[in-house]
């Protein structure tokens, strides 16, 4: 049993990962800085900003790059998140490649433009520095902010390292701007653990990125005096359902485009071989854990410890939440007895009071002939550390459920809360 091949660079490989294209530089940077590098490499035309931590760290790095003359773009600091997202929405309509982002309640303040961007089929790429939805001023990570738009036509993904943040941002442009898709995409980065920690990242060259990422071309949908069109006129019940169905079809097509983009990315950069999910020690796993974002780290540490004790446990990290990787998750989890889903979010009042990922996963696995038991765990809210001991506790419960013992799969357990 070997862990899945790491997609991150090996140490000591000065000047780039083995087999990596020439011109990659090695930098000690944070996840936010990695996103800023992706914007520079993608040669984004318009960026808007409004400060809220942890997203504001991206603003810092973007503005630094502009003032250092390393990056040329329209950089607009708006007077609110609502305007911030409106500005890039319109810029995207005229054919500009755009980037923006926010965190927590800032992201929710932009809800009106967030909702209509997908409807207008504008390929905005945003970074959500995941943050608790406040009160009282909490700024640690929770995933409910990005998840709030999960059914509105945004593609959503979660990354777990600064390297993956950079790579996924480049892939996001390629997917979002594909005419088969033309949907916005948000890259979620866990506040603190990803946005504020610096690790070694391989930064590709502009030339390599240019070869991977074609220019944004809206074709006959570009708002331009030479192409007189109207975007978003008034429609009512006689039109709207067809428009929604088009969006639905675009989201369905996104799967294929995402897979193509990863194949191409892997061929060019040597990273990112598995698009939708990461399978860790799953080959002979009897029980599995599922989660998103940086909590993958303590989970992997715990899985390795448990494997040494002979416990057959594996882990599936969900990279893309929308489109939801239903076939991949069905394939990965069909053979296990029980699944423990660790949500860094909450779903108050939902089925079994479970987390958002747990509920979606339960839906995805329901049609299976042999359904594993699914247990929901809420952990790490507001940025509370999820320790490998917490994960061991979860795994014990999942094994018991797999044996038909314990509290079963119709309850949700909060891990690491003070009773």
């Amino acid at each position: 049993m070997k862990p899945a091949e790491s997609t991150r660079p090996k140490p000591g490989a000065a000047g780039g990962a083995p087999g990596a294209p020439r011109g990659e530089s090695e930098e000690l940077i944070s996840g936010s800085e990695a996103i800023a590098h992706a914007c520079r490499l993608a040669d984004v035309d318009v960026i808007t900003a409004y400060p809220i931590r942890p997203y504001d760290t991206v603003m810092q790095y973007v503005s630094q790059m502009i003032s250092n003359g390393e990056f040329d773009c329209e950089y607009i600091v708006a007077e609110s998140e609502h305007s911030q997202f409106e500005v890039v929405k319109h810029a995207s309509a005229v054919g500009a490649r755009v980037f923006t982002g926010s965190s927590g309640v800032g992201w929710l303040y932009a809800f009106e433009p967030l909702a209509v961007t997908a409807g207008l089929r504008l390929p905005m790429v945003a970074m959500v520095g995941n943050r608790a939805l406040d009160d009282p001023g909490a700024f640690g990570v929770e995933h409910n902010d990005a998840l709030a738009v999960r059914d509105l036509g945004w593609m959503l993904n979660w990354v777990d390292t600064a390297q993956e943040a950079l790579d996924t941002a480049l892939i996001a442009y390629r997917v979002a701007e594909d005419p088969r898709v033309f949907l916005p995409c948000a890259i979620s980065c866990d506040g603190a653990f990803l946005t504020h920690s610096q690790s070694i990242v391989h930064v590709p060259s502009q030339e390599a990125v240019r070869a991977f990422l074609p220019p944004y071309n809206r074709g006959d949908k570009q708002l331009h005096p030479d192409n007189p069109i109207t975007i978003a006129p008034q429609v009512n019940e006689d039109w709207l359902m067809e428009i929604r169905r088009q969006n639905d079809a675009a989201m369905r097509r996104a799967r294929e485009v995402i897979m193509e983009a990863y194949v191409e990315f892997h061929a060019k950069f040597g990273r990112g071989e598995e698009p939708f999910i990461e399978r860790y020690m799953m080959d002979d796993a009897e029980v599995a854990l599922v989660g998103m974002g940086t909590l993958a780290m303590p989970v992997k540490v715990a899985v390795r410890k448990l494997r040494k004790e002979g416990k057959k446990v594996g882990f599936v990290r969900v990279r893309w939440f929308r489109p939801f990787p239903t076939p991949e998750l069905q394939a990965a989890l069909a053979g296990v007895r029980a699944v423990g889903v660790i949500d860094r979010d909450y779903g108050y009042g939902s089925a079994f009071h479970a987390g958002v990922l747990a509920n979606d996963l339960r839906s995805a696995l329901y049609p299976l002939e042999r359904r594993p038991k699914i247990l929901s765990f809420i952990a790490g809210l507001g940025g509370r550390e999820v320790s490998s001991e917490n994960v061991m506790d979860i795994v014990t419960r999942v094994f018991r459920a797999g044996e038909g013992k314990g509290s079963g799969d119709q309850e949700t357990t909060w891990i690491g809360v003070r009773e």
Binding site: K10, P11, T294
Partner: protein
Amino acid sequence: MSTSTVEIIYRGVFQKTLAKNICRGVVLAARKEGKIGLAFGRYSDSPERNGIPAKQFAVVAHTEEELQEFLSRYEPDNNDITIVTDDTLCKGAESWSWNGLQPVNTMLKPGGTLLVASMQSHDDLVKDIHRRDHPYHLAVVKGSTSFSGMFVYKDDHTDVRLLGALASLAPHVVGLGAVTEAIREQWKSDLKVDSAKRASDLIRSLPIRPGQGNPETPHAFELPGWKKMGEGLAIPGIPVREHPHGWDGGFVPGRSPTFKKFSTRTQRPVVNFDTCKKCTLCWLQCPDSSFNIAADGLYDPDLEACCGCGVCEAVCPVAGCVTMVREEVFQDNQSQWQRWSKDKAGYKALLAGWTAHHEARSHGYHHRGQYAEEIANETR
């Protein structure tokens, strides 16, 4: 094969760049030795507040898997080295975002090294540092407190001197060769490389025995469980204490018993009660309501509430009545007024001693220039 961690405790905002340079220096040097690393700050300290104790960390590992343990943590708790960039922090650190005073050696592993930038002797520092059950080492890089903050970088070589000392004290974390290579690459300065080498040569550490040090029990706070907490985020106010000692007994405002502020302080006000005119200005202008009114109407700074901003000194109209004095001179937070009322002559002598340590600067690290001269002095 194991992971090593370095913790840096520094003054928020004023020393942010200094801490960052040290953390990045450790990770970049480790890279030169073929290891990998991670540099991060304690998220809950940020956005930083002026002078309030904050932390940054560097983790050095041999493999990706070892490093994973730290990729989702706020604070490593078993550090090989703890670096303290301002010696007044040796009295303990209370972050702005939590409750309780954390001794600077709390997260140091048994047998680890506490490395302090200071002009004080080992013996003087040990009096401030809370005692532990385990032995550890104390090392001092001689130097006045450095100011390399968010807005100004006073390039006095404190960052590279601490890196050089670290390489000598903990070569298993990073060796001097790698440190100097990383410094040359980052700063392209032979002078900075020389400073690191000199610090590495000069650094000596002393063993500290279990139980040796400050016997005080640091103030702590017990976090309640969710069933005990009141709902709806309604926090009871601290009761207003109306004349707690009777009408003629002076006045002590209600203060939080668990959130104090004194670890933010690098200077404290000392009051010459013999010259005070009771004009009320210090009491009125203090942003933290730190002044108690004594029974005789004099104003006595509560040194657990005072964060050392120096506003009282600035507004006092009487020359020499309120004087800001370097915090390192003091071992406790006793009431000055009580000392004065018990023994006026004795207090006068104390005051004369204290005010000899007056520093002509306002709150924090307002630096008034002279960089070139100081750098020349410290690198000579």
